[in-house]
């Protein structure tokens, strides 16, 4: 009974908050409603027994990604409403609705098939975080390491793109790029 109530509360609030994210004209409203919707989504993960995933959702999405967006918004003018030219709104909603139907069919196809078996079954008596750790560091070790390298590359890319030569543009002339490269090489020595 509690599960039903919790599901519907989370579902309605997530849909409303994400509608605000997709429709709002103000960047600040869109960002705060996105952050709140992600908190609600972590509620679904706790309901589904994926405790560790819910905690990761809270820390990474609500904590890190939203803070990154908030910092990036300091570069853009976030106070005024953005003006967007909408060509054909009816066509957009029609395409979106058709897309949703296609996805419901795609998601329900494996349930109708009923041939899926659990590769790494959830064992009773072991906590979610422990079992996630066991599978992550045995079967998924290589993707885990690749993801770590990818995050390092993304961090360096973010620093280079946003941080170097803050006072003038990186992309207008080639000289500046070479200068920036030389500076990076000099600093690394």
């Amino acid at each position: 009974m509690y599960e039903v109530i919790a599901f519907y509360i989370f579902a309605i609030s997530t849909v409303i908050l994400f509608m605000i994210t997709a429709m709002s004209k103000n960047v600040l409203y869109a960002m705060t409603s996105l952050a709140a919707g992600m908190v609600m989504i972590s509620g679904f993960f706790f309901l589904l027994g994926a405790d560790f995933l819910g905690v990761v959702q809270l820390i990474v999405y609500v904590g890190a990604v939203m803070a990154l967006y908030a910092f990036a918004m300091m570069f853009f003018d976030a106070t005024k409403d953005i003006k967007e030219k909408h060509g054909n709104p009816a066509l957009v909603f029609l395409l979106g609705g058709l897309m949703a139907m296609v996805f419901v069919v795609m998601f329900s196809a494996p349930i109708i098939g009923e041939n899926v078996e659990a590769l790494y079954p959830i064992v009773d008596g072991i906590g979610n975080a422990e079992s996630v750790g066991m599978v992550l560091f045995t079967k998924y070790l290589v993707p885990f390491e690749v993801a770590a390298v990818m995050l390092l590359v993304a961090m360096i890319a973010g620093i280079i793109l946003a941080g170097k030569k803050m006072d003038h543009s990186l992309t207008t002339t080639e000289e500046i790029i070479h200068e920036a490269d030389d500076e990076i090489l000099k600093e690394s020595k």
Partner: protein, 100 residues
Amino acid sequence: MIGISHYLILSGILFSIGFIGVLRRKNLLMLFFATEVMLNAVNIAFAAIGNYYGDLSGQMFAFFVIAVAASEVAVGLGLLIVLYKKYGSLDLDVIATMKG
């Protein structure tokens, strides 16, 4: 009782909200928000299907989706800042330089 179909229908609704956002947004930052909505919708579907089959693979995939989303945001925001410095705007109609 709440079954898997509830979660999948919710995930489909959220995905279509994100997709409508991607289709109608002209501001690049708002476009990023819409892609985050889509990624979160897919994560719910992964967790729900994993729970339905008693399988941990769904949660594993959701972890990697979160890692990819985090790095996408880091690189994408760096590129947005460079674009904003160059054009003074994030509107796709202003930034677009190719005809057609």
